[in-house]
Subunit: 239 residues, 2 copies
């Protein structure tokens, strides 16, 4: 069957059908809450990085990306309200893990900020793409829409490559930084997985899986780490 | 005549007709450059204030306003490019005066940030409305569009009033703060007026006025200050 060859699983139905299962509903609210606060947090981080920008063109580029992240937040917020959830309540469990990540990975300059925006965005995109295949049609469409490229990648790659070309020593420092970002991201993600049962169940096999398979979560994190390694190499950085 | 009674001046024509005069073109580029950097700077300030927000709802409200300011910036940027100007070059003379204003009026908490957003926005709106009547039709439409309310006023007034109701001593501190904001804004505005001849000519009488009338600029600043006084009173603050 074609769907097997492409590694995709079939549709599990739309939101109305799936959300009848309280476990599924709780898991998706968790997921959307994490994603929504992630977008709001990305807005803040990019706006903050805009202050480091070496010129008006770069400053405006960062502000544009921040603004795009906010539009994504708004869509997730509206969807949460639409399905009868309180967006603030749903986001709250993810505030502290994300703030901890940002506190532990505060960029000290413009290039570290760019690498963080690039790496952070890519890890988040990988994660939500892994999860998207297990979601009902309505939620999957929303998740894929808000994970659409905001132009981070191209912008960051171009500027980081130029900086390494100008001064190769920059590469060593940023490679270390990339490793630290990945380590902190994994550590906060594992914390969330450990604390949010419904979400974890969704991650390892969709609504129909009961029980919690740490091995499957481990494999997912391994795939995400491998993708990170390839991206860092593409950026000219050893990970 | 009705137009005289309402205090409006008639149309001076569209951009194509007016921009044939190099003095007019230079003045409008100055104006749009100041406005564009003002919007980018407002984006940054609001995003920064979002960090002080006491909760997720307020944080998201500030991020929404910041995002709206960025959309305004984008419209001004695109217009500058459309008329063949280099947006960065045109904004550059206004970076330092605006940054000086922000440096001298960094809010120390959430309420000071709100009052600053409200007062700063209102002063800017008054200023651009004063100027709008002297502009060609195309530029006037753009200026009025980007000065449209982004929801600052209502949001700030409601929260500041509540804070004063909760603790009347807050009012005295914020009244002092409002006075300081107005003083620094006037001081930076006068600096810009002194440095930008074409812009100043536009302010005092439109493209057809030669020579620079300090008395007229002074009257405009007086009107803006009076409006500020009324707004502070409405906020429950003596100015």
């Amino acid at each position: 069957m074609e769907t097997q060859e492409s590694g995709e699983v079939g549709s599990i139905g739309d939101w109305a059908a799936c959300a009848a299962d309280p476990g599924y509903r709780a898991a998706v609210l968790d997921l959307l809450g994490a994603l929504a606060y992630g977008e709001l947090s990305a807005f803040e981080r990019l706006a903050e990085d805009a202050k480091f920008a070496p010129g008006l063109v770069d400053k405006a580029a960062l502000a544009r990306m921040a603004s795009a992240e906010f539009q994504h937040y708004q869509q997730l917020h509206d969807r949460l309200a639409e399905v009868g959830a309180d967006p603030t309540e749903v986001m709250t469990p993810f505030v502290e893990p994300l703030e901890a990540f940002h506190r532990l990975t505060a960029p000290s300059d413009w290039l570290e900020g760019l690498v963080k925006a690039y790496v952070g965005d890519a890890i988040a995109t990988d994660f939500y793409r892994e999860v998207a295949v297990r979601l009902d049609d309505d939620t999957r469409d929303l998740v894929l829409r808000v994970m659409a490229d905001t132009g981070h990648a191209e912008f960051a790659v171009e500027r980081v490559r130029q900086a390494i070309a100008d001064d190769p020593r920059v590469g060593g420092r940023l490679a270390l930084w990339g490793r630290r970002l990945m380590g902190e991201a994994l550590s906060q993600a594992q914390r969330v997985v450990a604390e949010r049962d419904a979400l974890s169940n969704l991650l390892v096999g969709g609504a129909r899986v009961q029980g919690f398979d740490l091995v499957e979560v481990g494999k997912m994190f391994t795939r995400i780490t491998e993708a990170h390694t390839r991206r860092m190499a593409a950026l000219g950085l050893a990970s």
